[in-house]
Amino acid sequence: MALPLYYNWRNLFVRKLSTSLTFAVVATLVLVLCVLLSFAAGIRASLAVSGWPQNVLVLKPGATAESTSIITPDEKGRVVQAPGIAHGADGKMLISEELCTQTSIPRRAGEHNMANVAVRGVDATAFGVHPEVKIIEGRRFEPGQLEVIVGKAARDRFDNLGIGGEVRLGRQGNRLYKVVGVFETGGGAFDSEIWGGRTQISDSFNRHFISSAVLRLDDAAEAAAAISYLNGPFVALESKRETEYYEDLSKTTRDIVALTTVLIAIMSIGAAFAVANTMYAAVDGRRREIAMLRTIGFGRGAIILSFVTESLLVCMTACLFGLAGAMFFSGTRQDFLSNSTWTVLAYELKITPTIALGSLGLACLVGVIGAIAPALRASRVHVIEALRKA
């Protein structure tokens, strides 16, 4: 039979300082873990919904991102001969030639707070190649006009990007574009971009080439053949499935997550030691009490369970506080500066039930691991010696 929970709960307040320190360590651990996991999940979600398996992205060999790729008109001409390219309702091949660049504009938070935003010059075909792009406010830009449409996340993060707003684009920022529409892709990377007519963007930035070509195929199964052709000696460009490209972009996130996982592991070990320290102090301070409990009939198992329960109470309560702290950030949109594109990618920090349960699991694990050695020591208290030392 276990000792009552209120016995453990009240004992937590006997050693306020060490309990508080352990509490703080575990709460911090949970907070960091939650933010890390939600960061990773947010970035993953943002990049995971980007791209189609039947879309093949063509870049200059060696380019790690669209922004560092230059495809010349000559190379562009050979792309159209790739097998399996789908055709739009107007009979045109679904090849979107795109110019990717970036510009620095003020964020909403303050006028001196500038950040890079991705600017994409596209033709009307882009909307057939990227059908996930849906206009949710206003309309598409008119070709030949200084008009842009903006992703929903970009509109929310940057200043003056609402409908009717104006944004300076170009090498010197000398072209004033008017925002005529807002689009969204369901949380994908495009949501953080500004799109305009390719010719105007090309002219404004004085870049007379394209960064990438995106081919929409009839069937995702034909991607391998198309990629083989595009990467072959005749075209000599570098192509990959669009989904693969965005997955590669999230590599940095994976590296950050891996590194922070090591940090979390080290923090967990530290937290387990903090728990152990507190529980050892509790055992040493309660030797007579333990001896009395053993004398009146509580077995070793009940003593072990009691100390593990006490540790779990600290860790689970600390976990709830850590989660409450993390919930403070939940639902907020954060910026992630991609080191591939050097543009800001907006993602949503979200504490999901899975993240909350994972954090609770880690807190419990820390509690059990930290308590097990002190609890065993408690169960081995020499009853007669402890009673005599009274």
Binding site: L3, Y7, E289, T295, G297, I384
Partner: protein
């Protein structure tokens, strides 16, 4: 209400320290009738507390046997002894050993948590035990809100709440003033005379010893002599 007799036969207890044998009890034999109130006296190191611990199943004799009621303790495992103690023995300590974070009622309730019993029944038994020791109005007080005498009363209530056959008291008045000691000893007398509990009490205090029906004197691990208390004749066991 139940009582058990205690029979210790040729009990030897030897402790080892740095490879040196320290004999504490040296072939001691003692018989205590069910319902008897026996006092163990003797100088420090004579083996009084050791004998009490052996009878309480907290330690095992090096040789010899101890029987309490129908239980031969030397044949029982540690787990069996732990379970046996919870049902058949009530312990009273010099320093009370109450749990400071629990109220008087919760302290008394502790041994009952080892029984399959409804919380209503537990509450009832706790209330009865506290009433017996005269602390019915102190149920929600913590140990630090009670006097030494009151703390010892709570400890006695904890010892009797399971209705044990035997009460083992290790210097229960050693930390109390004379007046409070008398009250505690009167309470032990009550448990013996009214509730027919077999009581074995260790004490250094001759006044406390006068409350027993029989005083057993130990000296260097052996029974030196024993005296019957004419003022408190032994009662027939129930």
């Amino acid at each position: 209400m139940s009582a058990a007799d205690i029979v210790a036969t040729s009990v030897r207890k030897v402790y080892h320290k740095d490879r040196i044998e320290i004999p504490v009890l040296d072939g001691l034999s003692l018989k205590i009738d069910a319902g008897e109130f026996v006092v163990l006296m003797g100088p420090s190191g004579s083996g009084k507390s050791t004998l009490l611990h052996l009878i309480g199943g907290l330690d095992s004799p090096t040789s010899g046997s101890i029987r309490v009621g129908e239980y031969n303790l030397e044949r029982m495992t540690e787990r069996e002894l732990t379970a046996w103690r919870s049902r058949h023995v009530g312990f009273i300590f010099q320093m009370y050993h109450l749990v400071p974070v629990l109220t008087a009622a919760q302290n008394v309730e502790l041994p009952l948590l080892l029984f399959k019993m409804s919380s209503a029944e537990r509450r009832e038994r706790v209330a009865t035990a506290l009433k017996v020791v005269g602390l019915a109005d102190r149920t929600d007080h913590r140990p630090n809100q009670l006097s030494g005498g009151q703390e010892q009363r709570v400890a006695i209530a904890r010892a009797i709440v399971t209705d044990p056959d035997v009460i083992l008291a290790d210097e229960p008045t050693g930390d109390l003033d004379a007046k409070t000691s008398e009250e505690i000893l009167a309470l032990l007398n009550l448990l013996n005379s009214e509730f027919n509990k077999t009581i074995l009490m260790v004490t250094h205090d001759p006044r406390a010893a006068s409350h027993g029906q029989r005083v057993v004197h130990l000296e260097k691990g052996v029974l030196e002599r024993e005296e019957r208390n004419p003022a408190r004749p032994a009662m027939a066991a129930s």
